[in-house]
Symmetry: C2
Subunit: 336 residues, 2 copies
DNA sequence: CTGAAAGCGCTTACAG
DNA sequence: CTGAAAGCGCTTACAG
């Protein structure tokens, strides 16, 4: 099972290795006929360039690194993550790139992996998810000189590109939907406030409510169903409970449904519920939950495209990008 | 941002590159003191070996390839996949390996990626999920000479190792549970019969039922909630409907619950339901579904360990392995 | 215990 | 348009 090399091709064709390399890489310096012969033989012998030799010569890899810092168990309850991942893959597939993946919930390890992958030239750049307050990655990656794109929230280093979901528009959509239904007091059950995009939502939901003269009560939870249920329960048990809530993800919306049910109340009668992140969960629960379809695949694809662009143009400050406004899918918990 | 190389270390220490390399790789040929000095300086300068240079010299990469052939949209509804993935990651993390991931639902591309990754030395071996009838991968990978481990079902090439869930024991557990509750006619709503592990389950469920003198009706579906609901609906509408069913995954169990509810029947009274693949879905649905917790993380970890072993011992035929029998989590749909 | 040298499979100036 | 040569950063026999 001897590997076929460029030298083999050169030998069989009576050419030099350089000519073969030029032909294979579609560079000037070889006649069309020579190029044809080279490509045909490469095809016939099923030659593929050695990725390590090429990376060593070019001093760069064509692999994108993705280090996910989440509890693996929690991750499995997040359809959103898999859909973002699939979007990245689709884009990388087109560009024939590849994704090197690591899942760890140890912050020390996380940083070590970024360093190691970059220093050992394993990857040409990184896609960074879940930016949080005091996130060490913007500075770390800048100091390493590693290209990176931040997904869902801006990097604190403005020279690093980011791709965002349109949180302001989405907040507007959610608040507007509930306001149009006549609700005057909303609850916002946000995810972990250490996450940057949750801060953004906190502010944009508040702004949207203020603009309409609505009252707003914020309460934080951890994205789990159980904690969502607890948080919504607390809201419901207040004397001045809101009549509608917005939850930061689908799982907490399910928790909300259960909180309502546990109190023998009904939705939307006693509490209307609308969620970020549509998924099959929102459809499965009874009653089905009104939710924003955020097109996670598009976000992932945009992230992949952006990091590939950044790698191709090192040093260039790329424009930030965002996905199209999400689409509200009204269901029984608001319009039931 | 100049890369630190072994030559830099050698220069600064007044040593040769080979001594430095020996020290770094913990091989004989250097005094303990020299080794210490080398390691200290490497640490101080944050030296990391160039993965491509090392791979080129060693003629082998330390990356494992995972090509997932699934519709990305469907994938996001499968907590099972993410949990297997997380298990692999945990094991690879320990061994400091990495996972190169590609998701595609195009069979042509799938084969091309296996070829390309192997021929270009990007990966040292593969983990293969979702083996199906007439799967081209056993032959392809054997002909390439690429190490591979098959997860969930044996390869048709017996020299390739596999790691399995204990399907026979699990079938026994599920059938036994329902039989103990007094059910005499079971339905088995299997997943796509083209998948090898579904064939195994088809046979082992049948054997377990036969052994107990139970009647069994098999019907196939595609793992989606909608198709599960359809299949269960068909069973329920028969004049001789089974009193209990086993579904091939959690999503179809949810479909079963909905089929029952749509007919204004109840579970477990009119139909008991037990599922393979416990997940939060089984807990969320009302009534909650009895399910087998298959320890997907352990399966993923075992797969990663096995491919690493196979790579370390090329040519050796490894013993096949399986995870511990799954644990049945009884819930309302059977013991309600 | 240490050093000089060849080699892994590519790319890329530099001459012809 | 083509070839000989150096170099990417490692590893590993082979001499000393």
């Amino acid at each position: 099972m001897k590997r076929v090399t460029i030298a083999d091709l050169a030998d069989r064709l009576g050419l030099s290795k350089s000519s073969v390399s030029y032909a294979l890489n579609d560079r000037p310096g070889v006649s069309d006929e020579t190029r044809r012969r080279v490509l045909d033989l490469a095809d016939e012998l099923d030659w593929h360039p050695s990725s390590s030799a090429r990376a060593l010569s070019n001093k760069r890899s064509d692999t994108i690194g993705l280090v996910v810092r989440r509890d693996p168990e929690m991750l499995s309850t997040e359809p959103f993550f898999v859909r973002v991942l699939a979007g990245m893959e689709a884009e990388l597939e087109r560009a024939d790139g590849a994704l090197l993946l690591r899942i760890t919930d140890d912050p020390e390890r996380e940083r070590a992996i970024y360093r190691q992958w970059w220093r050992s030239d394993r990857v040409a750049g990184f896609i960074c998810l879940d930016q949080h307050v005091d996130d060490p990655r913007p500075r770390l990656l800048t100091s390493l000189g590693a290209p990176a794109v931040f997904v869902g929230a801006p990097s604190t280093d403005p020279s690093q590109p980011h791709v965002l979901s349109p949180e302001a528009e989405d907040s507007e959509t959610l608040v507007g939907h509930l306001a149009d239904l006549g609700h005057r007091h909303l609850g916002h059950v946000g995810g972990p406030i250490a996450l940057s995009h949750e801060r953004i939502r906190h502010d944009t939901v508040a702004a949207a409510a203020r603009r309409r003269g609505l009252r707003l009560t914020y309460v934080g939870a951890d994205y789990s169903k159980a904690d969502g249920q607890r948080a919504v329960g607390e809201l419901l048990d207040r004397p001045d409970a809101p009549t509608a809530i917005i939850t930061g993800n689908d799982l907490m919306a399910v928790g909300a449904v259960h909180a309502v049910r546990a109190r023998r109340l009904t939705s939307p009668g006693d509490l209307a519920i609308a969620a970020w992140d549509d998924s099959f969960l929102c459809q499965l629960v009874d009653p089905p939950v009104t939710a924003l379809d955020r097109a996670p695949g598009a976000l992932g694809a945009l992230a992949a495209r952006t990091i590939l662009d950044q790698i191709a143009q090192p040093g260039v400050v790329l424009p930030h990008r965002r996905t199209a406004p999400s689409v509200l899918v009204p269901r029984a918990t608001t319009v039931g």
